[in-house]
Symmetry: C2
Subunit: 338 residues, 2 copies
């Protein structure tokens, strides 16, 4: 098996060769730059983007063990993750940059599959790869591969998350799937479940159609639904109340979390969005989401805290009729996924 050598990271001929073979040759010319911009078509110190709109930028470092999993790979995850962050800001993704750190001895066939995964998503959604970096580090310092991606998008009206009193909280699909798949792999549990990792490009149609009524949008990755909802109430000083019975948790997720003791609400999702929307439009938005192939559910609402102590709390109403606080995740979240 051909493997990564330290020389592949020398910044010279060997790096040029490996990038040519595993990345550039897979990319159509028009996806090497943005309109009137400059990118991989002309290797310089940086990329140039021309835009009259506001520019959205996000970055994420992706490390995952194992780097192939049912439903995807670290490559699909890295590109989808950064595209989704741009979309959740209301941005139309136009380009990404990628930075790969790989350990000496890493199988080149695996690198090939990973870069193919990355680029097939870029091609599907017509997003350019305009720059990046490639580093090899000794096998005694690192195992596997880490991929950093930078997402660039344009938007006339970015969605700056500001949940409002009375908003309905919508999730666009089943919760806890990606995290459960990785947990099953790490714990050796058999499951038919596949990761939900995918770009949420179609959401842009919803954001466009219901502009002004989408008050917040986020993809609940690391830290899961619990982290997203807690961040929203921290930012706004509101409360959010959700109903346990309305949260769409697949049976396969439930069986994995029951065996492992994990909480599906802190598990990562990689192809789901959480939206906070005007309540009078919530049903319309749900209908439109269904037309686009999503499986949305209204799971709760934003409420004005009656007293100061309740500011910033997320309350979950349980199926047996009680209520408890859904805390910001803390301590080790297993599985360790990103």
């Amino acid at each position: 098996m051909d493997r990564i050598l330290i020389s592949h990271g020398n910044g010279g001929k060997d790096t040029q060769n490996i990038l040519q073979k595993y990345i550039f040759s897979k990319l159509p010319e028009d996806l090497k730059k943005t309109n009137n911009g400059l990118g991989l078509d002309y290797p310089d110190d940086g990329a140039v983007i021309s835009s009259g709109d506001k520019i959205i930028v996000s970055t994420d470092s992706h490390t995952i063990d194992p780097y192939f999993f049912p439903g995807g790979s670290i490559g699909k995850l890295a590109v989808s993750g950064t595209i989704n962050d741009v979309i959740m800001m209301g941005g139309k993704p136009i380009a990404i940059l990628d930075s790969i750190i790989v350990a000496e001895g890493f199988p080149l066939d695996d690198l090939d599959k990973i870069t193919t995964d990355m680029i097939s998503i870029l091609k599907e959604f017509n997003i350019s790869l305009i720059g990046g970096d490639f580093k090899v580090i000794p096998s005694d310092s690192m195992k596997g591969i880490a991929i950093n991606t930078v997402g660039i998008g344009v938007s006339k009206n970015p969605i700056i998350d500001r949940v409002s009193e009375g908003d309905s909280i919508i999730v666009t699909g089943p919760i806890g799937v990606h995290g459960s798949v990785i947990a099953a792999l790490q714990y050796g549990i058999e499951t038919q479940l596949k990761s939900d990792v995918k770009p949420l490009m179609k959401l842009l149609e919803i954001f466009d159609k219901f502009q002004g009524d989408i008050h917040a949008a986020r993809d609940p990755t690391r830290g899961g639904l619990a982290a997203t909802l807690n961040e929203w109430v921290q930012l706004s000083g509101k409360m959010i109340s959700i109903d346990e019975k309305d949260i769409p948790i697949p049976d396969e997720v439930k069986s994995i979390t029951e065996v492992t003791g994990l909480d599906p609400l802190v598990l990562a999702n990689e192809g789901v969005a959480v939206l906070s929307v005007s309540s009078d439009k919530a049903e319309n938005i749900v209908e439109e989401l269904k037309k686009l192939g999503f499986e949305p559910s209204i799971i709760g609402k934003v409420i004005e805290p009656k007293n100061k102590d309740n500011k910033g709390l997320v309350i979950i109403r349980t199926e047996v009729g009680g209520a408890k606080i859904l805390e910001m995740p803390s301590g080790d979240i297993v599985p360790r996924i990103c």
Copy 2:
């Protein structure tokens, strides 16, 4: 000694706490976003930048062993490196994003020094930190720390590297210093040399003053001067001829490269630029560079190849009167620095 825990990377409360302590609390409010933009002041999926100019974006992954070295740290290196890439495109750096991957067990005191180094440069040059990521991975998968940085700049007239016949090639300072420092550390050689790592912000004054006469600008990091000059002739189909005697290589660099057998022209520089400029302005540019505190030298020129076989060659005229081809670096470049 307090150390990094896996829970510090959970994306929840522990991650918030560590980012607050080691990054956010060190940053003034106005450096948490760009003008009319959005950044760390309002944690969302991405950052927003408003600009009518062209946007320059670059990204780099930084791994270095050891992560502290004479003259700097991986933090100083990561921020300076990405700022310099933006500057070499003629961009005024306005913001960075950083993504830190750190191994479980990493000393928190070291993280503190590294983030302090990063932020002190941002403060010195008034550059905002508008987003990022923070991941912890198990100590059996990685040692140390890797930092990915994204540099964002604005420019009305980006410098797209296009060397022209007759251009003079200028280096703005001594060559091979950073690489030699790291080599000395890895080989256990004693030296007084310190890394040249620093942002090259003052070059923007030169680019502004001599606009149109600066045909190419690059910082010769990994792969050194040899990689930069070879990339330029590959892009342009020209030849470059440089004079060995005019290349400013400090005696301390020479003694390290003589002991180790390394070539100073492939060693990384982290505070030096190479410029290709109109020859009739070269002396003026050198004078202005000196006024700004640089130690520039004209080391060669761009020539039109007389025949097709010579397209894309870099020729080095040796001190003894001969000439040889300066190849694109290949194979292992030691030390492994980024």
